[in-house]
């Protein structure tokens, strides 16, 4: 049974009572142990791979050396034959035969090691996927458990805090009202700032003698005098 199915069944089965674990702690511990075991196997497999790869390299070097040795001795044998020394040529041929036997052995070993390397690499990949999958499943279990416990804590907090639970719509209305209030205040303060800006400009203009001027006592007197003179 997949981990999702297990949790699904547990939740549907009513294991959602506060304080009741969806997946019991013991099976979680067993699961964690399984992951640790798998990881240990993986470490060992990786060490084995290193050993086998080292042996593979040695065998490969040995095969090369033997092949070169055989070629050299074949040259010697030909030279002996050219000189008509049949006995020496035969001795060299015997040496070549021995080298060829060794080469066959080394080639077999090399093939063997190469196959082992491939097999171990496959095994490691498979184990790594397996461990990753175990971890994912454990995460599902632990998260379910954590959400369950967190919900219990939140519910307890709401109840003990005696805070009135609002419906979603009520909450939204309140938040919107607060937002509206905030926006209104922003607008008001912007307006105020703008008005203050106007006022300071007017003051500057007045100081510079530009724009509408306040009537001064002198100008009033001048006006009255000119009226009198009419």
């Amino acid at each position: 049974m997949s981990i999702f199915k297990k949790i699904f069944t547990a939740i549907r089965g009513g294991a959602t009572e506060v304080g009741e674990a969806v997946v019991d702690a013991n099976s979680t511990r067993i699961f964690e142990q399984e992951i640790r075991d798998a990881e240990n196997h993986l470490t060992k497999a990786k060490r084995d791979l290193t050993d086998v790869m080292a042996k593979q390299m040695q065998a490969s070097r040995e095969v090369e050396r033997l092949q070169k040795d055989i070629a050299t001795h074949e040259g010697y044998a030909t030279q002996a034959l050219n000189k008509g020394d049949e006995a020496l040529a035969l001795e060299v041929a015997e040496k070549i035969a021995a080298l060829e036997t060794e080469l066959t052995t080394q080639q077999a070993a090399l093939e063997n090691f190469t196959a082992s390397v491939a097999r171990l690499k496959d095994l490691i990949k498979k184990s790594e996927r397996q461990v990753a999958d175990y971890k994912r499943q454990l995460s599902v279990v632990k998260t379910t458990d954590s959400v369950h416990k967190a919900t219990a804590a939140i519910t307890d907090n709401f109840v003990s805090g005696n805070s009135k639970l609002l419906s979603a719509k009520e909450s939204l209305e309140r938040i919107k009202a607060k937002q509206q209030n905030f926006d209104d205040r922003m607008k008001a303060s912007e307006q105020l700032q703008a008005e203050q800006g106007d006022a300071s400009l007017e003051a500057k203009l007045k100081a510079a003698g530009i724009g509408e001027q306040e009537s001064s006592a002198n100008s009033i007197l001048a006006r009255l005098k000119s009226k009198q003179g009419e």
Binding site: K149, A152, A153, S167, A168, S171, L172, K178, F182
Partner: protein, 137 residues
């Protein structure tokens, strides 16, 4: 990463937050550590944060089963599924008899990423309630 690191970061942000929100954090006692986070002006829709071995979970409760107009429940669920992917960073969920949206972050996430997640989750919650209000009493 634990809830105390998150609380410390958010409380210290003050007016310097990149998201323009003010965060208020209250730890809730219980079997697992939970952080209740309120965004200024949105206290009615708190976000609950808990940290597990490999993720940071941020949850906002939307409404209870009892608030749904029962004739339109199936339609509401379908809309939730349809909206699940377009909704940035958050997903719909149900915990007990309550519907929720949540965001899950890798435990390696930065505090700035968590702050961003919280702001988006809060915006999503408000939009969702607004858009789903036709299904609610």
């Amino acid at each position: 990463m634990n809830i105390h690191t998150i609380a410390q970061y958010l409380n210290d942000l003050g007016d310097q937050s990149a998201t323009g929100h003010n965060f208020d954090c209250q730890p809730i006692a219980g079997e697992v550590d939970v952080l209740q986070i309120s965004l200024a002006g949105r206290e009615e829709l708190p976000i609950f944060v808990s940290v597990t071995d490999d993720q940071v979970l941020c949850i906002t409760y939307l409404w209870g089963e009892n608030e749904i107009i029962s004739d339109r429940r199936a339609e509401m669920m379908e809309t939730m599924l349809e909206m699940n992917m377009p909704m940035p960073l958050s997903s719909f969920a149900k915990i007990g008899d309550k519907y929720a949206i949540f965001g899950a972050l890798a435990i390696s996430s930065s505090l700035a990423e968590i702050e961003h997640e919280l702001a988006v989750l809060s915006d999503n919650a408000i939009d969702v309630i607004d858009d789903f209000s036709e299904y609610l009493n």
